[in-house]
Symmetry: C2
Subunit: 195 residues, 2 copies
């Protein structure tokens, strides 16, 4: 094993990077200026030191409290519940939502040994009790696990008096009825709205 | 820009890695143990220090001379000419070729300002003159530039007395006549062999 094989091996452990892509990237790094390698290596090495979960919502931040939680201009009465920290970035990129977030850190998946206790659910309940929260938007993925988790959260929040909603599920924009799966089509009928 | 955006930005500059893949990799790194980041950062940072071109053939190596050039068991009378250092690894992985290599470092591409002078051609001629080379296999890619470069090399080696051959071009194994392009089909006719 030489240094080139080492870097190919390390790169091929990353998600979505196979052996061939890893080799292509490694040769690109070798052909490029050393400063590209230095910058990339530096950025990767400081990642864990600099980034950690926000103490309130669990999204990634460099500070104690993330930019969303620390922004008084955000609607403090709405909390959007997501599975992973990256979901916060995905929703923020759309510039549609103006409330706060709460990252669960996963979904209920009994087969993988993930129960409600492993998720940040008690923190969510505490936030709702301690703040003037009016609505909780469940934005877990429209999968079996995401739906199960949403149903579970809806149940534990039933007595808190907050309005619990779920992101609409249906036909994707630009999609084609012919190619949409049966479950999505069924949902788009059940969730149909007045025109 | 925080450390997470930095690493996503750095990763998205790599070939074959878009903004979404870069974000996915960055979040994977954050979720994984810090040792994965440390190893990856280390492997990338030492790449340029450890790896450089072999003094004889131009392939990447950690030593002065690469493992192929330094192996007396290889057939010293055959030199396979390739475009890039990674082509050596591709050919070595097949375990079919037992001779030596010569890396050109590119192809003749006038539109990109690459002429014969930018390639390691004089080194090739010197190697042929100084060693008992019987055959030069031109393994540049079957593209316009690769073919042009092969033709150019064939011409400058015409008077050296070595046998100059070119890798066969034709139908890929497992391919389908119906889906093969016209140029490849034409070549497979011209290069047809006795059955």
């Amino acid at each position: 094993m030489n240094a080139l094989d080492d870097v190919i091996d390390s790169l091929s452990r990353l998600p979505g990077v196979g052996k061939k892509s890893a080799a292509r990237i490694a040769h690109h790094l070798l052909k490029s200026d050393d400063s590209l390698c230095e910058r990339l290596a530096h950025d990767i090495s400081v990642l864990h030191q600099r980034i950690h979960p926000c103490k309130i919502c669990g999204a990634y931040t460099e500070d104690d409290i993330c930019a969303v939680c620390g922004n008084p201009g955000r609607d403090q009465s709405v909390i959007c519940v997501v599975e992973q920290p990256q979901d916060v970035q995905t929703i923020e990129a759309v510039h549609e939502y103006t409330g706060l977030f709460h990252v669960l850190g996963g979904v209920i998946a009994p087969l993988e040994g993930v129960g409600p206790d492993q998720l940040r659910l008690s923190e969510l309940v505490t936030r709702i009790h301690e703040n003037q929260v009016k609505e909780v938007i469940l934005a877990t993925n429209p999968t079996v696990e995401g739906d199960t988790t949403a149903l579970y959260i809806q149940r534990i929040l039933r007595d808190t008096g907050v309005s619990v909603t779920r992101l609409a599920s249906g036909l994707p924009v630009g999609g084609d009825l012919e190619y949409v799966d049966r479950l999505t089509l069924t949902r788009s009928f059940r969730g149909r709205a007045a025109f």
